[in-house]
């Protein structure tokens, strides 16, 4: 089974979060807990369900990732942008993204 992590948006701020090895919801993609079997995926889904019920997160889903020597990395442009923030400056360059 492919390597997977659990992601969502935080309810209050809407920011992208990941379920971490420390059993917390973090904005740090590199800290996301990875699983590679259906039991592990079920644990992540349970955690997401609890966090939703506790008004911490919205819209959780599992995302496939890869691991290389530097750590985990996203497989699609979309998840890459979710992890790192917009690739563009906004507000006519006066403010930086992220």
């Amino acid at each position: 089974m492919a390597l997977q992590i659990m992601t969502a948006n935080r309810l209050l701020g809407g920011e992208v979060v990941y379920f971490s090895e420390n059993a917390e919801w973090t904005g740090d993609f590199s800290a996301a807990k990875t699983v590679d079997d259906s039991d592990g995926a079920a644990v992540l889904l349970d955690e997401a369900e609890k966090a939703e019920a506790n008004q911490l997160i919205v819209g959780p889903y599992l995302v496939k990732v890869e691991r290389d020597e530097t750590g985990i990395r996203t497989l699609s442009v979309k998840e890459g942008i979710r992890a790192k923030g917009p690739t563009v400056h906004y507000g006519h360059g006066l403010r930086q993204a992220g």
Binding site: V77, I81, P86, Y90, R95
Partner: protein
């Protein structure tokens, strides 16, 4: 400009209080996300890729300095110091926090603004000609009827849960600057043979995954029957429009599958039944609304200003800006000044809090306190004295808002794309920025002439690529961004849907491809007078395709 009456004021205040309560219940856990989502969408609040996004309604794109200053204040206090003007003449904030949204709505209500009807399967904010009340080619001011439609459609009980969203646009001029033929209903104010003023009604236009040009369902509708006719169209759609498949639920699909003749028969039958009921517009009500849009107190001026001519002679950058961004006004001695929100290499439609305040100050001082947002993601000061144009230009230039590119290749409509949007397949803004940089020489842009380039990050077509002279559509190919080019689209009174030129291009090849298309045009045009679209319509796709893929 329209001002709230007691009804409007109470209605918006009630909605602010309701939504504040709903947000509180959501945070407390008394509402689930499934229960809350339709409620937040009814108040313009989306959850996007990185954050919530709040879409603020600017009815028919008309607003004033106090409203602009309030939007600047909200950008500064609750967001990240900027806002984004959209193709529905609205403004979006990309980073609000859920708990702040009730406060934001309260602040908006202080200046007669809200976020109602900016989302959901209802009748959305009616859009219009950004030059309304100022255009030399105008029959009547369309905003009067936009406001009547706003009042009729706001929380219309029958049309709050339509099969899909429903967009209406109105133009009062012979040149269609509101893209009415790609709306669910497009209304053109026309004069009939007897000299009476009424509406030509188009129905079933739209973009998205199935682009269609609207068809004329009625050639002349007397003004007093505007609402009864709209109600008849909406009722037919609401009753027989498809609800089983969201991709086939827009009225354009109903018109296409049923045929315009049958749709016309059904609408006219319903209209006959209701046209002389309470929906018939009383003349005094039209007059009352008309009062809000009466022309400002223009001075009697010469047709041309000597000071203006001198400044244009002395300052080349001013002359270039005038050439591109200033349009003739119906009133002698006045002009329409367009403010491009497409500076070189920046995100189209974005404006900072400080820039908003500069525009507000200029509008107050030089344009009778009026500002317009355009569906092409720019702003307009509609009533500027020619002799004040240099001062306006200087103020805009100091704020980085004097880009002289209106209608040129870098004046692109661009959706937020994958940098912000949860639905997008590909990024739009970086592609626009790269094209803008590639064509940074403004003289080169002027030499190319009028060229409307529009970019969408997915088939929902929020960036209007179907009606771009050059359209770019972002697609997903196995997780990678690719871009399809269309040619020959047009949003004005000669509306057309662009055709796909051929296989799509990778992210790092799309700018070269666009430049090639432009160079092919420059080679084959019959002189500088023949625009890109005219040349394309003359020669067709073949020479472009042959050379682009050679």
């Amino acid at each position: 400009m329209y001002r709230y009456d007691e009804f409007d004021y109470d209605f918006v205040q009630q909605r602010v209080a309701q939504f504040g309560d709903q947000v509180e219940r959501r945070i407390e856990g008394d509402l689930t996300e499934d229960q809350f989502k339709p409620l937040r969408l009814m108040n313009g609040l989306y959850l996007q890729l990185h954050a919530y996004m709040l879409r603020v309604a600017i009815p028919y794109g008309t607003f004033n300095a106090a409203q602009m200053r309030k939007m600047a204040h909200i950008a500064r206090k609750y967001d990240r110091g900027y806002g984004h003007f959209t193709t529905r003449q609205n403004l979006q904030y990309n980073w609000p926090v859920l708990k702040d949204v009730p406060e934001i709505l309260k602040e908006l209500a202080e200046v007669e603004m809200h976020a109602i009807q900016t989302s959901g399967n209802c009748i959305r904010n009616t859009t219009s000609d950004q030059y309304a009340g100022a255009a030399a080619d105008e029959i009547e001011d369309p905003r009067v009827y936009c406001e009547i439609i706003r009042q009729w459609s706001s929380l219309h009980p029958e049309f709050t849960f339509l099969p899909r969203k429903f967009k209406v646009a109105v133009t009062g001029a012979t040149t269609d600057r509101a893209a009415i033929r790609v709306h669910d209903i497009g209304l053109a104010i026309v004069k009939n043979d007897k000299g009476e003023v009424g509406f030509e009604v188009h129905v079933g236009g739209g973009q998205g995954r199935t682009p269609m040009i609207g068809k004329v369902v009625r050639e002349f509708l007397p003004k007093e029957h505007l609402l009864s006719y709209l109600e008849a169209v909406l009722r037919v759609y609401n009753q027989i429009g498809r609800r089983d498949n969201k991709y086939k639920a827009r009225i354009k699909i109903l018109v296409h599958e049923t045929g315009i003749d049958e749709i016309r028969r059904l609408v006219e039958a319903e209209w006959e039944r209701i046209k002389d009921t309470a929906l018939k517009l009383p003349l005094e009500e039209v007059d009352r609304i008309n009062e809000y849009f009466s022309p400002p107190s223009f001075e009697t001026l010469d047709a041309t200003s000597r000071l203006f001519e001198i400044k244009r002679f002395e300052h080349r950058d001013f002359a270039t800006w005038v050439r591109a961004n200033v349009v003739a006004h119906k009133q002698a001695g006045y002009a329409i000044a367009n403010i491009s929100l497409k500076p070189e290499g920046e995100a189209p439609g974005d404006i900072t809090d400080d820039q908003m305040e500069v525009v507000a100050d200029l509008a107050e001082k030089y344009s009778f306190d009026e500002i317009r947002a355009t569906h092409e993601q720019n702003l307009v000061l509609p009533h500027v004295k020619q002799e004040d144009l240099y001062e306006v230009f200087s103020g805009l230039k100091a704020a980085g808002l004097a880009t002289a590119n209106l209608g040129l290749i870098s004046d692109m409509i661009v959706c937020p794309g994958l940098d912000y949007c949860a639905l997008a397949n590909a990024r739009s803004i970086p592609v626009a920025q790269a094209i803008s940089k590639r064509f940074s020489d403004i003289e080169r842009q002027h030499d190319i002439g009028e060229l409307k380039l529009k970019i969408s990050g997915c088939i929902n077509a929020c960036g209007h690529h179907h009606v771009g002279h050059i359209g770019i559509l972002g697609v997903d190919r196995k997780g990678e961004e690719y871009y399809q080019i269309t040619l020959g689209g047009n949003a004005n009174e000669n509306a057309a849907i662009g055709k796909i030129i051929g296989p799509s291009f990778a992210y790092d090849k799309i700018v070269d491809a666009v430049e090639s298309v432009v160079n092919i045009y420059l080679e084959l045009r019959n002189g500088a007078e023949e625009s890109f679209l005219e040349a394309y319509n003359r020669v067709g796709m073949a020479p472009f395709k042959e050379k682009l893929y050679a």
